[in-house]
Symmetry: C4
Subunit: 275 residues, 4 copies
């Protein structure tokens, strides 16, 4: 009898946790979102020294409440799915586990000498923010934009990195070691700060020749910042055009779609599109 009940109970739970087209499913999603936000803000506030001294104990209690809540959620997710392994090794399953692990590990490895490391582990709980990705990444738009352009953007970033290595080395030769460009990695860091137009000013050229080279670096950065923009804008237009093409009506003869707006004959079977 219980065996007969279980599938129905599991099915309803699955509907609440994994889907969001029922009222309970939506309520669960919103509640989860609020819990994630609150727990992240507590980790943030706890990192502020003055607040940690005053409210540290309260923060600690709240953190444990959320840890237990998220653990229950994780177990429910495992229970309500047919093949738990599919969830465990999915990107979101790994993220959910990583968001839980630090708190629990802090109990089992509490050695006095590792206090600092443990605090670091605790801070990893901020990665609960990744759980927000559940909600954000379902928006078709950003996924498409990022996946479409990611390969071209990578090539572009590699080229920029190569450029910063060369320009950083040139600046290391030009500027004296005393002017902040104390070694090549440091100079490359400067080149990245400059070419991305961030410009902290913690390292900046001092000699006239250095300033001249730096000016060239800036103008190069100014000109090539346009490249990724061009790539993404272009890919947006392509993605849209592709989708638009699929919108137009199907051929009345062969039934296939994907005709251009100005097509008068089916490009697959050659029969007229107008009846």
């Amino acid at each position: 009898m219980e065996g007969e009940h279980k599938p129905g109970w599991r099915f309803r739970l699955h509907e609440i946790i994994y889907e969001s087209n029922t009222f309970a499913g939506k309520a669960f999603d919103v509640g989860l979102l609020i819990a994630i936000f609150t727990s992240i803000i507590i980790v943030m506030l706890d990192s502020v020294h003055s607040l940690h001294i005053q409210y540290g104990d309260h923060f600690n209690t709240l953190e444990w409440v959320f840890t237990i809540l998220f653990t229950i959620e994780y177990i429910l997710r495992l229970v309500s799915i047919q093949k738990p392994s599919r969830y465990i090794f999915s990107p979101f399953g790994i993220i959910d586990l990583l968001a839980l692990a630090p708190s629990w590990l802090a109990i089992f490895f509490p050695g006095a000498h590792s206090l600092l490391v443990l605090r670091a582990l605790r801070l990893l709980r901020i990665f609960r923010i990744f759980k927000l990705a559940h909600f954000l990444f379902e928006i078709d738009f950003l996924k498409r934009a990022l996946l479409n352009s990611i390969r071209k953007i990578s090539i572009f970033l590699l080229t920029v990195l190569m450029l910063t290595v060369i320009l950083g080395s040139v600046m290391y030769l030009v500027e004296q070691r005393e002017n902040g460009f104390s070694n090549i990695p440091e100079s490359i860091y400067w080149a990245i700060v400059t070419i991305t137009t961030v410009g902290y000013g913690d390292i900046s050229p001092v000699t006239p020749l250095g300033k001249f080279v730096a000016s060239l670096v800036m103008l190069i950065g100014y000109a090539i910042i346009a490249v990724p923009t061009g790539i993404i804008t272009h890919d947006f237009a392509l993605a849209r055009r592709k989708r638009e093409k699929e919108l137009y009506e199907s051929c009345p003869n062969c039934g296939r779609e994907g005709h251009d707006v100005d097509a008068r004959f089916c490009k697959y079977c050659g029969s007229s599109l107008f009846r």
Copy 2:
């Protein structure tokens, strides 16, 4: 008799204040613009310490002149409209009231202890600048551009925020507390300063590992700055295309669209577009 005159007088006033197709209406608009600009500049100059000491009294007098002028304008707007509540609760009605309130409140609650707060209230009058929106936002172009993209840009900004939370937390772990990254909110502030390529330099990485992570943050920021540009450029093209389609009618013979504005014959079947 007076009852007969009033509607005509109210109608003419409405024409001057709310419309701008008569000479008087345009003159009122330009005069209002100059008054707003002048009052804002006076608030600005009054905030400069040395000028406040020398000309503080004059500024105060001028501020009162403008306050009274804007109050008269507010009353006239109420009087000349049929349903005053429609103006009062419109965005511009609220802005106009907010621009007036601080000056008047400063009289009725002049307690010595709230002097600083009152000065702050006075500064709110700078929000009179919003009244300029009356003029600017009538330009169809910017309204369309902003409304079209605002949802996508919001999603993008949320993603960037999530990224800065993660990257800020990583930097808090990487850099020592002594190097300026004193807590997670501070580190997130640093991440925003860096990813938006502002780069004040008030907080900047000190350790080699911190500089490496910072370089990654900058390159990420450099690559994703392209996304909002792509969104807006793309939406511009769509908005234009949409408008074009609405402008040009279809051929009365073959029913196909896409004719130029100056076309007189269908480019597909050659029959006249005008009947």
Copy 3:
């Protein structure tokens, strides 16, 4: 007899100075370019204190050589044109005069008390760089891009300015006077430095609330930097499309041009475009 020669001589001079399709015309243009560049570099070098002390006299001599050369050029331009007034009041005529004026004025008003002002006048000669515009602005491309978008970009800049006034005032209220935001104009300067992502770091928020507001300002700046890009990219596409349309062959019946690529019938007279 001389009266008969003069027109021919004036015509040839006009060809050399104003046109560039003869060898002499091109040589004149290149020579002028080199002279402008050299004179600008001399003004620059003379501004460097150490070089001024050592080579100041030589620089002075060279400056006078160039001043005399450009004066001769200016007189020749006046002589060789039919209506000198057309040149004098053209943008380039005014620029050429402004580039000459400071050197000559420095002789006639050499009063000891105005020494500093004279140095300033001398420096104005760097505006000879505007003469380069002769050469650069003839490139059709940039002219079109700038003229097309200048109105929209202005509206955009006005909106950004309005935003910086509001955000600057908010920051003046939020941050203490001691933290660099000493008056509203200063705060507006900070808002411009921040929203344009320049980020000098000479003024930066100190209080947590100030950092929060500053983060909002940066994210706003990050999102709206996309707007001018979108405008210009879009206008490029429009300009190109317009030009392309004019490329396609004329109608064999009425001879008018401007047909679309896929047009089969003339949109003006309705006759077939294919014979």
Copy 4:
């Protein structure tokens, strides 16, 4: 007999070194890439003072190993090609030689007085990074993007440079010599730092007028940063359209073009595209 063997041996070597469609060819490419990366990282690490003291000798040994390896590679490239002069004077031949030269020159000219220069020469070996271009530049995409836009971007950069010269000179007049704007080249450097939105903050305006002018410079920079983006985005779209046109043949019946890649019948007249 040996003469008969040589061509075959040379041909196989050519296949391995210059081509990458055999297994040996791919292995050679990957091995070379790893060697270049490792040698660059060693040069970088050697520039760090503390590491140089501790591991300087090891780095030196490893540098010589790589120098010998790259020398062998250079000789093999010369031997395996039919016309060695074609490789020697090709861009990559010159880069490969420049990457080798510093190490060897350091032996033959070891004079004590030129020690610093020699270290500089050694650093030039970082230009081995250019060898990566072998791999990167084969990606059609970036080559096209850069070549297409390089002329327009140059004109744009020239205009920006002209602008910075003018704005820099104005700031030199406006700000006092004491405020960091000590000469015109320095002021131009500041203008470049500002207009490219890098904003180090090493030089920043101090006087109110200076801050006002700087604000204008920033807003100008903010508005014109859109121009190169517009250029590149537009050129991307053009390049794509051009390639599309070249890919798809015209209809053999009506001669019209613009068919999709998967079209089998003309969309205008309905006849088959394949004969």
